[in-house]
């Protein structure tokens, strides 16, 4: 529905107020009639309860119509409620014995449109349009039938010859020709058609209730449940009328059915009004988001603000990133396609014909896209851009972590290969040399024995160097025993005295241990390079971060420790090195817990 221009909108609003007043006048008139000449022939006249029920239901509908119509967005639902409310009083007016013939004739015809209007009204709830094809077909069929039946009865029914007539039995200003049997058939078939349409209405309501999400169902029930009760009353009336000659308002079954129908319509009107009030509060709350937009800082602020305003905690905002063909949330994390979630309604928000965000919500709030104004859309666009760069950052971070992890596992593999391959073969060779040496000794070949003895000594040296090499590539003890023992060995073999204070040397994930270890190794190497005569290492766990510091008394600037900084950075941590008096290298690495 396009928005009307302000001037014509005012005219339309005025027209609706007038219609509402007219409906009220009709209501008062109808009750006056019912309390007077029609005491015996209408439900409204049959008892005070009947009058109250008639008034409550009809005026309820008119009130709902006015409340909806006078809102910021006048709607079809409001107009239909006004029409249905006015028609509701037609049966009472038609029973105005001695009233103006034209009024009676019009009221008689109008009474036939009460049900079509109510059906249409119910089906336009909550989206302000009928929506699905079956529902549209049903509406059109009911209107068409009401028109045909109304026309046939208006043109060919002479009330005077109607054997089942009770209320208006004398006047029909539109009568062209009296055809009592045709009129009778039209009346009966209209009654049963209406009952069939009421059954269909129950089915549509039930189907919509079943399909809706839980929060949406709660809202729909307020209107659909009374609507279904009313439809049931319509069916029951058709069945009850089959057994009596005319609709006697004092018949207990019929009056009970009427009471049930009236109460249902009253509740339906109340449901409509509460929906409008709620929608208005939500619109107000959403509008308030705009006022606070400049305070929005944290990613996902808009999602929680909308969730609070629309009272839908499950609301999810996803942003489509065309570059990587996936949806992300405000923090840039990939999320599944919102439209694949069952039980949720997905609304696409566009700006300048581009989709900026996809909102997955309960569907309880009708026309959510119309509530989210340009300012919020701008805010969402902002969040989308932010999410995009966050997603890129995250991808970069994981890729960095992957690179370091791959390099580490390669280092471990090398260390193992050295240990299990070269070192073992050299050991075996060393053994052979010793055996040969012993043989030379036994043979008294002193020259060979000495040469082999030298070779054995050289072999020891090579084994030692190979061991240091393997340890430098990846200390086996780091993987098997963790950072504490690995740092102790590092301190043992460092070229300067290193004191290790290990307050939190539990086990951590391998990448974290490796980053901490190699950061210390690099810092200690750097300290030695700068001529420090001692270094102090401390490892502590502080609020989800492993904090490693290396202090030394070397002179000159500490190096920037690029390799260690890369490792630590790849895990989302930070490494700082400063030298003022004592050089301090500090690495902070996020970790869950030890």
């Amino acid at each position: 529905m396009s928005r009307a221009l302000p001037a014509s909108a005012n005219v339309a609003a005025l027209a609706r107020v007038v219609a509402g007043l007219a409906g009220t006048v009709v209501a008062v008139g109808a009750v006056a009639v019912a309390e007077g000449p029609a005491r015996a022939t209408t439900y409204a006249g049959s008892s005070a309860t009947g009058a109250a029920l008639t008034l409550a239901a009809g005026l309820g509908l008119i009130t709902a119509g006015l409340v909806i119509s006078l809102g910021r967005r006048p709607s079809r639902t409001g107009d239909l409620a006004l029409l249905a409310g006015s028609c509701w009083f037609a049966p009472a007016l038609a029973a105005w014995r001695g009233g103006p013939p034209l009024v009676l004739s019009i009221a008689t015809v109008a009474a036939g449109f009460t049900f079509p209007f109510i059906l249409h009204l119910v089906l336009t709830h909550p989206a302000d349009r009928v929506g699905s094809k079956p529902a549209r077909a049903l509406t059109a069929l009911v209107y068409a039938e009401a028109l045909i039946a109304g026309a046939v009865l208006a043109l060919f029914r002479d009330p005077y010859y109607d054997s089942s007539c009770l209320a208006n039995c004398t006047v029909n200003s539109f009568l062209v020709r009296s055809l009592p049997s045709l009129a009778h058939v039209a009346e009966i078939s209209d009654r049963w058609f209406t009952a069939a349409a009421a059954t269909a209405l129950i089915a549509v309501c039930a189907w919509r209730l079943v399909r809706a999400s839980w929060p949406a169902r709660q809202r729909l029930l307020l209107v659909y449940l009374p609507a279904m009760v009313f439809a049931a009353a319509v069916i029951a009336r058709a069945a009850a009328l089959q057994r009596v000659i005319f609709e006697d308002p004092f018949n207990p079954a019929l009056s009970a059915i009427f009471a049930a129908g009236s109460v249902a319509i009253t509740l339906l009107a109340a449901g409509l009004i509460s929906g409008v009030v709620r929608a208005r509060a939500e619109r107000q709350a959403v509008a308030e988001i705009t006022a606070n937009l400049n305070q929005a800082s944290a990613a996902g602020w808009l999602q929680s603000a909308l969730a609070a305003a629309l009272r839908d905690p499950g609301i999810q905002i996803a942003f489509w990133l065309p570059g990587r063909q996936c949806y992300v949330n405000a923090s840039g994390q990939a999320v599944p396609d919102p439209s694949t979630e069952s039980g949720r309604v997905v609304t696409r928000l566009t700006r300048n014909e581009r989709t900026i965000a996809v909102i997955s919500h309960s569907g309880a709030v009708p026309a959510i896209e119309s509530q989210i104004g340009p300012a919020i859309r701008l805010g969402l666009e902002n969040e989308r851009l932010q999410a995009e760069s966050l997603a890129e950052l995250e991808e970069l971070r994981t890729s960095r972590a992957r690179i370091v992890e791959t390099a580490d596992s390669e280092r471990r593999r090398l260390e193992r290969n050295l240990h299990d391959g070269a070192q073992q073969r050299l050991l075996a060779l060393s053994y052979d040399i010793r055996v040969a040496c012993a043989a030379a000794h036994a043979d008294g070949d002193a020259e060979t024995e000495m040469a082999l003895g030298d070779a054995a000594g050289t072999m020891q040296g090579i084994l030692g160097e190979l061991r240091d090499l393997a340890h430098g590539i990846y200390p086996a003890v780091l993987a098997e025993a963790g950072i504490g023992p690995a740092l102790a060995t590092l301190a043992d073999t460092a070229p300067l005295p290193v004191q290790v204070l290990c307050a939190e040397c539990g086990r951590y994930p391998a990448p974290i241990e490796a980053a901490a270890y190699f950061a210390v190794a690099e810092a200690v190497d750097d300290a030695a390079r700068r001529g420090a005569d001692h270094a102090a290492v401390s490892v502590a766990h502080d609020g989800g971060r492993l904090v490693v510091t290396v202090e030394d008394n070397g002179s000159g600037d500490a190096s920037s420790m690029v390799a260690a900084a890369d490792r630590v950075g790849a895990l989302g941590g930070s490494l700082t090195a400063r030298s003022a008096g004592t050089a301090v290298c500090r690495a902070e690495i996020p970790c869950a817990s030890s």
């Binding site: 193992r416 240990h419 299990d420 070192q423 073992q424 073969r425 050991l427 075996a428 060393s430 053994y431 052979d432 010793r434 055996v435 054995a456 072999m459 020891q460 084994l463 061991r467 340890h471 086996a476 003890v477 993987a479 098997e480 025993a481 023992p485 102790a488 060995t489 301190a491 043992d492 073999t493 005295p497 004191q499 204070l501």
Partner: protein, 216 residues
């Protein structure tokens, strides 16, 4: 003396076995993994087991775990761990629980057959044998509030040799002093470390442990 060997590399395993057999030691079994080692020890009740620290399936510390198991279930069987790592951590893991009849040597050390046989004898005597490189490394560690600070340089020297598993006589020879002097030093060390003559404990082993455990 009867010995079981556990080493997954066939060449090394055979080498050690031949070396020991040549030296007149009875090799009851030579196996390739920890499970077979435990079975062999249970079946043959040897004097000592020579165990590679890294064995299948994970090639990390199976040997160490098996050694602890042997020390717990067969207190009379000595265990000599062979390793390519100079890691005090591994040595301490083994010695902390069962210091007596336990040893940790670098692999290349064993091809010096006299060294190996001496180590096995020390284990049989109920002592502890730790590779000199590891002892040296622990010696170099700076200690704070350490009872060992009270020791004189000479006493530290003697204690280091005790830790390596040398007898008083061997220590006397290597330091060019008399055995009586060594005995006096050892007595002094026991006293300074507060190790009283308690028949249930092996004071030499306790002294070595005090030495190996670093505070903090």
């Amino acid at each position: 003396m009867r010995v079981v060997i556990a080493e997954d590399v066939m060449l090394t395993r055979e080498g050690i076995a031949r070396l020991l057999q040549d030296a007149g030691i009875d090799v009851c079994a030579a196996v390739g993994d920890a499970a077979a080692l435990l079975r062999a020890v249970g079946a043959t009740q040897p004097d000592a087991a020579i165990v590679d620290i890294r064995m299948p399936p994970t090639h990390t510390d199976e040997g160490l775990a098996a050694a602890q198991q042997i020390r717990a279930s067969h207190p009379d069987v000595g265990v000599l761990i062979l390793s390519q790592y100079i890691e005090p951590h591994y040595a301490m893991r083994l010695l902390d629980e069962h210091p007596e009849r336990t040893g940790y040597l670098l692999k290349e050390r064993i091809f010096d057959v006299a060294n190996l046989i001496d180590a096995l004898r020390r284990l049989a005597d109920g002592e502890t044998v730790v590779d000199p490189t590891i002892v040296a490394r622990l010696f170099a560690r700076k200690r704070h509030a350490d009872p060992l600070d009270q020791l004189s340089d000479r006493e530290r020297e003697v204690l280091a040799l005790v830790a390596e598993g040398l007898s008083n006589q061997a220590i006397a020879t290597s330091l060019f002093i008399t055995e009586r002097t060594v005995e006096a030093h050892v007595k002094q060390i026991f006293q300074k470390l507060g190790l009283n003559a308690d028949p249930g404990s092996h004071r030499r082993v306790l002294a070595v442990l005090a030495y190996l455990r670093r505070p903090g």
